[in-house]
Amino acid sequence: MSDNIERYPDYIKRVVVADDDCLQRTYISSILKKLGYDPYEADNGICALKLLRDHNAQILICDLDMPGLNGINLARRIRSDPGELYVHILMVTGRNQSEERERALDAGIDDFMAKPVDTASLTARIRSVKRLLLHEKRLAEREDKLRLAKERIESDLNDAANAQRRMLPDQHIRIGQCEFHSAMMASNILAGDMFAYFEIDPGILGFYAIDVAGHGIHASLMSVALGHMLSAEFFRQWAIDKDGDPDPAALVRFLNKKFFRDDSTDYFTMFCGVLDQSRNELHFCQGGYPSAIITGPAGVCTSLGQGGFPVALLTQAEFENQKTYFPPDHFMVLVSDGALEAEDPSGQPFDDDGVKNIITARAHDPASIPDRIIEALSEWRGGSPLDDDLTVVVCERIQA
């Protein structure tokens, strides 16, 4: 035979030989030594168990009949404590012990040899075990490679997610005469949601919330691209017309043109607003994003907008400006459809009512609304993670 055991790792060569018959034990050991293996001898089951553990051996040759712990009980003990390594057990039985063989198979014996043990049959069986061990080794190496690759990918994704999160505004931030409060939760590591707010001109604020269709890496790349593009400068350029009047629809129209592709259906929904603080006017364009909700101190919720085309989905989509009165002491809430569509274990969506109930109950403390919605959704989902990314943005107008 050409296969030389010498070139294999040591653990493959370790064999525990358990037999109370000294002659039989020495005989088997001498054959193993000739084959290049390292036999460790045990005259009883308990001693065999100890040798297996002490030497991390993966091959056991044992006699069926031994005082104390016999071969079958020894096998049961080994199988009841599955460590990282699988122990291959060869059992030596008498020619007339066929019933015991059945029980031995049940107990976890892998193969048998009949007494008297001869060199040829032991060699054949030990080689078969060696093939299995080498196969296991290859599988373990492959698993290690996959695990390392997975760890690397996850670490990269976490870095990307952190970079993405750093693009978002602080959870509570004051801009002009507004307090903004927010929360974002990704359904995966990376999110397809993005939002921001800034002062465009003195007294004029711009804000947006975006939800890229789909989730994961693909959606997050687009959301990050949009996050970099949509700056105060960009709003100044595209969301204010040449007479200086707010025109958020023009900005959305520009994005629709820029991101539309004939050969793709990647798109996003967007709520884009320009707030004129001195006039208490909110100008907005709804690009398929759920309607914003405006609430006063009494907690009465009013939905803004009847809908609108998503962005980058259809080249001929029209986008319009809408305007509403948004005075101090009122606040506006934007919630992505990740909240509205979140289902409880019976399949009931959280819906507008779920969101509005929280807004009404927390009208005295708008700053607490984003976290409260996240908390309520987690209860609603019964602990199972969200299917979609979730964004909550609250814009609270305060008295000058």
Binding site: A213, D266, G307, G308, L313, L314, G347
Partner: protein, 115 residues
């Protein structure tokens, strides 16, 4: 995943996605199957969403993908919108992109009138 039914004496094909949820999990394979139908020459399509209780943004993307594939070769309408599906169509204005009908019979009748 889809089930198709041809309306007698017409070139109208009614497509049932056979799922109660058209989402990121199955929208692409749904789109691919309808694309195959279009490539085989089915140009008058009714997408019957009677049995669909929930669609997400990927489903909307898939429907528009089907519309783009069809181009001006024919017509595609949808029917059987209910609850959250109807709401999704209104919020995203898809009800202005796809003619919608209460059921497949009315959708097919409207399509055959325009033949």
């Amino acid at each position: 995943m889809i089930k198709i039914k041809h309306v007698a004496d017409s070139q109208i094909c009614v497509i049932d996605p056979i799922t109660d949820r058209l989402t990121a999990a199955n929208a692409t394979s749904f789109k691919d199957e309808v694309w195959q139908l279009i490539d085989k020459g089915e140009y008058r399509l009714v997408i019957d969403l009677t049995g669909v209780a929930f669609v997400d943004s990927s489903a909307i993307g898939a429907l528009v993908g089907i519309l783009k594939r069809l181009g001006n070769r024919g017509e595609i309408v949808v029917c059987g919108l209910s609850g959250s599906v109807d709401k999704m169509f209104r919020i995203t204005r898809m009800d202005r992109v796809f003619p919608t009908y209460p059921n497949s019979a009315e959708a097919a009748a409207a399509l055959s009138e325009r033949l």
